[in-house]
Amino acid sequence: DAGITQSPRHKVTETGTPVTLRCHQTENHRYMYWYRQDPGHGLRLIHYSYGVKDTDKGEVSDGYSVSRSKTEDFLLTLESATSSQTSVYFCAISPRGQSNQPQHFGDGTRLSIL
């Protein structure tokens, strides 16, 4: 199994509070991704990183920011959480971000915003 750890695994918080989710990998992969999974939508890309301090937006990036100060850690921050951000969040990694390499996923973080 790919060495990917997401924390926390579950979180309940209130609207308007900041929330940070962490993805930690032990594979030394260059590319890291954050997705959210919602019923009827499959997985949608929020942000991704192609190296330390190198990040870019995905299709649903509004309301989210990311940071990557070390190869092994990719943080997803909700600056002021809203109920629409209640979802299951997945981190994925890939060695070189090429279309012929599968991404490997963490176990997810279930986030509820009340």
Partner: protein, 111 residues
């Protein structure tokens, strides 16, 4: 933008029966991935297809990418309760490894 449509959205089969899940793309596919997800868990990579006509098998699961490269099918032979879960297809979008996903197909296998 590219979209992936999976069919059916859900499926209930009797143990031992065969089944097929389809993934249709609005654009040509360059790299098609199949993943399986159990409830409350992450996605497990099953197979990757890249060339039109390509077919791969793993145990009782076979995936194909059609010649025109806009559709893939996942076939399970002699289904077992362990096959139950959500199957998702993903397609490469661009050259940064970004993936887009279908909405998933939920499979239940009745003993």
């Amino acid at each position: 933008s590219q979209e992936l449509e999976q069919s059916p959205q859900s499926l209930i089969v009797q143990e031992g029966k065969n089944l097929t899940i389809n993934c249709t793309s609005s654009k040509t596919l360059y790299g098609l991935y199949w993943y399986k997800q159990k409830y409350g868990e992450g996605l497990i990579f099953l197979m990757m297809l890249q060339k039109g006509g390509e077919e791969k098998s793993h145990e009782k699961i076979t995936a194909k990418l059609d010649e025109k490269k806009q559709q893939s099918s996942l076939h399970i032979t002699a289904s077992q309760p362990s096959h139950a879960g959500i199957y998702l297809c993903g397609a490469a979008a661009g050259n940064t490894g970004k993936l887009i996903f279908g909405q998933g197909t939920t499979l239940q296998v009745k003993p």
